[in-house]
Symmetry: D2
Subunit: 354 residues, 4 copies
């Protein structure tokens, strides 16, 4: 029996991608797509890819709150999410949050990086981190709670943290990496990562044919990556913008554990075993590197691992679609698990080969 | 009961897109993907979007011919197709041809434009033109022949002819256009239209940030468009190359029929009625123009119609994905109809909204 | 002795390109770059290409008006230009206007297309149209007036009219084209043509990988092209947007004059002779098509001419940089001539070959 | 009195950019552009940006060798350069080499990374490394030798080493960086960096909308960067490919020297002082990041420096045009100095602001 799902913040880039995925999902029905700014306008007006596909119209957040659904996805900015989530949860509706509001366990860290006190710390304490391949037990536990009839709250991982952590986690969890020393993450994102707002930064004529670092030393995904990978205070994270729409590539350089004797074949095996049961994460053969184009529009991730600097370092790389596995598809994957469906239900699309 | 389908020329851009569509089709199984040049290599090696999706390996054309299938798609260059098609047809296998070899009714016209005599004129005479929205009865007839157990041959429309004809046909067929005078088609294609071969023309550094006309007065889609639209000798067709991968936009300027009194609202109605029963072609409201991004990766087309020059001309525009509705998806749509499935079975993907 | 030049509207795309050209000009000094919106900020702040190149700071329009210069370039929107120009002219300062305000000879046509009455019709009557290759005598006359110590006013041609007219004029002026029948212009522009304002239309994620027509039947360059080419009421002009920054390609389809017997070689000669003395316009050999990349960042234009439809039509193509020969470089070329310098002084840059 | 210059390997991307720069140089005349593959064809045929600019025709390498010039630029692949250079030098002609053949001081390191023994070790011993901002005395010494009438040999720095070293050197040379620990360089290049050859990698349809690392742990610029920065065995260098033509951004993460007490203002001052006398390298203000678009088509570099990870690391970023300061412009800058001209003679072009 199909479940009813609503999307709040549906006019944003992550929200509208989620709408697209829900329209094609075998189990969830799209009940509403809410956006105060676009309320009353057909989805197809702002996003003409939906012309002839759906006549759905954006509703207000207030209308959304009055609609009975089984799950609500929050694709609103941080701060807005921690205000909205309790409203739904208290009405017994499960919340899958795509914002940063329920990712960081420690409210003090949240306040430090986001510049505002967390206003839903009770719910934060109960929230589960949504990155199923790295925290499968956590989300399974939550699924059981949900299946007993309780609403649950999932705070999905961010885009940079997802690509970075999927690529780095097997090495870190298997003791391949030194317990001290900086871990350097340089990542590159397409322009959808900068959001729907028309700004100088997102103007075609400034973004095209340009490469640029940003948020050096200050990007808010820093504490999230440190939390996921359990590397407090060790991360140097530098994001970059490149001229493409969708796609995120993270390159992680990690100092090798002293005395490590593993061959590259053994390291490769560790990686392949790690993702053996994950249908959406692929470890590439040695010598092949992830391409963001190969996962564009999908829920998939590709990772690879190599030695560098005469075996002093491991270099992991991870590619995702920042709006797919980095946002909308990940949220849907979490919802799938919470509702007891296959993790990749409705998420089996294959990227355009070219 | 699923039907078995094979793709010859599967390593080309249209062929591999067809493979992608077949992997996700509710009724057809992919039996083989043939490419002499890539035989023995996994699909995922050249097209890493398939990594973790399929372990399929390219086979030789000879292996393909020895495989028992219900339908074969030919995504090989012209000349090769007219040699291969009879081989399959004579073995009772239905052929859906994506090349130019079975599009032009008159072998003399074929020889004039393609510089070689047609070597399968018997089959050409039996071939059906594959552009279902404009020739629904023809393909339905063929479907009936096929359902009686006979192999059939469909020569699918080319990319420029598809976008152009979908946009222009309602006006021409409803007498809105003068019976004399030039019809001007300027169309723009993404670089996938230039094929997989690495050349100067397809080199990133020559294609990026560039606009260029080509084949002025000589492009081989000219007689095909004239045939579809029944405008012999009246077409001036100029294709252009622009820096994007997939997408084709055709702009057709047609002199208005003398004394035409139709208002733009009436013209719009004619267009909307024309495609009323076509789930894959959308007529946009007045004032809205087709965007290729809105149909990228899909089987869909968008068209619009407007008056210009104080009512002297009609300007129709049509957008498709040249590899989708302009090639692979169109072939699959034809196969769907031939086999009695819904025309859009397996073809309901929605373009990424952004 | 160097002349002092100011730019009003210097923060816009055409204005800032003009600033770049003036910084490198052998005869003109940049006296001011005015922009009320950016006043007080260094040019390099908004346009970091100027970092380390100039410390110049945007001034207000009022400060600009109080500065003594020999020539002022107006790179402001239409309506603003016709208010500003008289202010400068009455102070004896020559004005080179990049807007549409002094292009159309007939104020009624201006009002019809721009929706506002012309408020400087006296000056309009004295303005010269700035497209030196097509109207050399007009600008030479004005140069003589200027050299006698009088301020003059040049209304420079727009981007689409420039590319279109350069490509079409030789055929039209030499009687190769029928005197009746529609002339169809389909042109494609890069996104700089849509201006500096950050909008949905100029958002990277909507402009990238997309092709789209706009302003079908209604674009304001229509009467300008008709005026330049003396083809009143015959033009169907459809502009398109493609994913590149700078570059404009215009394709013009013209019915051949009845009974025309000229061979393509003769037509080619007519074209080559026409531009024989123009160092900035190049007629390409038969079989070669203009590439916008080959004129990007320059004052240059490339044109070509071909027959199509069995000799029924001539297809001319013209490529320019919409901010170069289509705006800033053209304005500077006009100023060069007015001041008695070589037409291409400071305009000899060659496009990046790749 | 003008000097005569020739370019061998002139049909490649770096070679043809050098030709463009030489055509506009106040002191050097272009005597020949040599390319065996293109010999006999006009430059404008393959690179239509030169149409109407120069009638020059590519000559053979043999014809080049028989031409009397003052300086020859070698823009040929490695291995070819070390064979050709002695031929010219022995005839008394100064050689500016853009290849990798005369960069690495130690022939054993060359052999290790390039897989072939160095065949001109005598000349290698006399070669000067061409990166004037970092090795000003070396190139001045060579200039004096040259001005006494001797031919000299300059091996110009590679593209990645240039961007990386310009950004990292001030910190390393002023003791801001720990003397141990890995230095991590992640750099991103446009597709011109992959060269003129049409391959899968450079095919528009594979390069567009894609991000990808390559040569992980194995890129040949590794020993060159270690040599320039005197960080033997400490470098982890990972290059990436992004969808743009020209532009290279390098991000360098360096562990801070233990006990370093410098404030960011002091670090910034060190950087600004370091490049105080270099007209082509700009240190950006704190909070601003280099943009490759802002140096595209120029000889310029932009660098910035920041702390990260609570002061544990310095993150330097450097942007160049890989064909400009990363290849052709750098070679010309070296030649300028060797011939006693201003370092930036003919190299003052400013990037298009948009």
């Amino acid at each position: 029996m199909a479940k009813n799902a609503g999307v709040v913040g549906a006019a944003g880039f992550a929200g509208i991608e989620l709408v697209r995925l829900l329209l094609n999902h075998p189990q969830f029905n799209l009940s509403f797509a809410a956006s105060d700014a676009q309320a009353g306008h057909p989805l197809a007006e702002f996003y003409p890819a939906f012309t002839g596909v759906t006549d759905a119209v954006f509703v207000t957040n207030e209308e959304a709150e009055q609609t009975n659904v089984d799950v609500v996805f929050l694709a609103v900015p941080h701060k807005a999410a921690m205000t909205l989530a309790p409203t739904y949860l208290e009405r017994g509706i499960t919340v899958i949050d795509l914002s940063a509001d329920f990712r960081l366990k420690d409210p003090a860290v949240y306040e430090q990086w986001y510049g505002v006190a967390h206003c839903a710390t009770d719910w934060l304490a109960q929230a589960t981190f949504g990155l199923p391949e790295l925290f499968p037990q956590e989300i399974e536990q939550v699924a059981q709670i949900h299946q007993k009839g309780n609403p649950v709250l999932v705070g999905c991982a961010g885009c940079y943290p997802t690509a970075t952590s999927l690529a780095a986690a097997p090495a870190l969890r298997h003791g391949l990496v030194a317990e001290q020393g900086l871990i350097v993450v340089d990542a590159i994102s397409g322009v959808t990562g900068a959001g729907k707002k028309a700004t100088e930064r997102t103007h075609y004529c400034f973004a095209d044919e340009n490469l640029e670092a940003y948020g050096v030393g200050t990007h808010r995904h820093t504490p999230e990556i440190e939390q996921i990978l359990s590397i407090p205070g060790r991360l140097v994270f530098t994001p970059h913008l490149a001229p493409l729409r969708r796609g995120l590539l993270s390159t992680i350089t990690m100092p090798v554990a002293p005395g490590l004797s593993a061959s590259i074949e053994e390291v490769q095996s560790i990686y392949e075993d790690f993702y053996d049961s994950s249908s959406l994460v692929e470890v590439l053969p040695q010598g092949q590197q992830p391409r963001t184009a190969s996962v564009c529009g999908t829920a998939r991730a590709q990772v690879s691992i190599a030695f560098a600097a005469q075996g002093q370092a491991l270099v992991a790389t991870g590619a995702i679609d920042n709006l797919g596995k980095g946002a909308a598809a990940q949220a849907l994957e979490c919802a799938n698990i919470v509702f007891g469906y296959a993790a990749d239900a409705g998420l089996q699309a294959v990227a355009m080969p070219v």
